[in-house]
Symmetry: C2
DNA sequence: ACAATAAGTTACCTAAATGTGATATAGGTA
DNA sequence: TACCTATATCACATTTAGGTAACTTATTGT
């Protein structure tokens, strides 16, 4: 008892992984091509990148737009739901910047 | 090329796990005894609770205060660094609340 | 003697996350 | 014909996270 329902659980389920916040963060500026987005995220593997955007798409945080050309062209873009994370993502980033300034 | 250094990485290393944000969130009100804190976090196991607070302590986000009594009494409390996460934690929580309101 | 207590540890196990390397695609170009 | 391109998938291995149950500790109250 005295247990508290905490919506934070829901949030962590959606974006509580190593890569998701990074990918979302780099989409804040607008739509980005797949390869370029992947390049913006240091050290992410091919597989994890794909897996991450797939899940973000499933959870309606980003959209995936495929152009039927060869070689393929794919763009990812934040949905409204994704955009609503903007201030949180920026806060997390600037908190990290402040904190890593020490040590 | 075009890779961007992102302090978000640092942030995610410190608090990017299933339980850490939850534990920190429940410390926002002030110091809490170990058992009581654990009870506030639904479904956390004994082991994960201990492991989580150990890591938070190591990263200087919380302090652990042991009273030399029997049976043991231990209190956890946010450090200044931990307190600086307050607005982020609350934002994550209220974002979760808004979003889980749909679906 | 022995049970109760609060906080934690230990050994052992399963599940989830992440990484690596090879392969697929299909049209344009050398 | 063979290769290049951007995007993605597959099989497999490894690493990390998380769970369960038993055990420890030292004192007080029975």
């Amino acid at each position: 008892m005295n247990k508290i329902y905490c919506p934070l659980n829901y949030t962590m389920k959606l974006i509580g992984t190593k890569w998701k916040p990074l990918v979302l963060f780099h989409l804040l500026e607008g739509p980005v091509r797949s390869g370029k987005l992947q390049n913006k995220v240091p050290h992410i593997s091919n597989k994890m990148f794909t897996q991450t955007v797939r899940e973000l798409e499933k959870d309606n945080l980003i959209t995936r737009k495929v152009y039927p050309v060869v070689p393929p062209k794919v763009e990812y873009e934040l949905t409204e739901k994704g955009k609503s994370l903007e201030s949180i993502l920026k806060s997390l980033d600037s908190w990290g910047k402040e904190m890593s300034a020490f040590s």
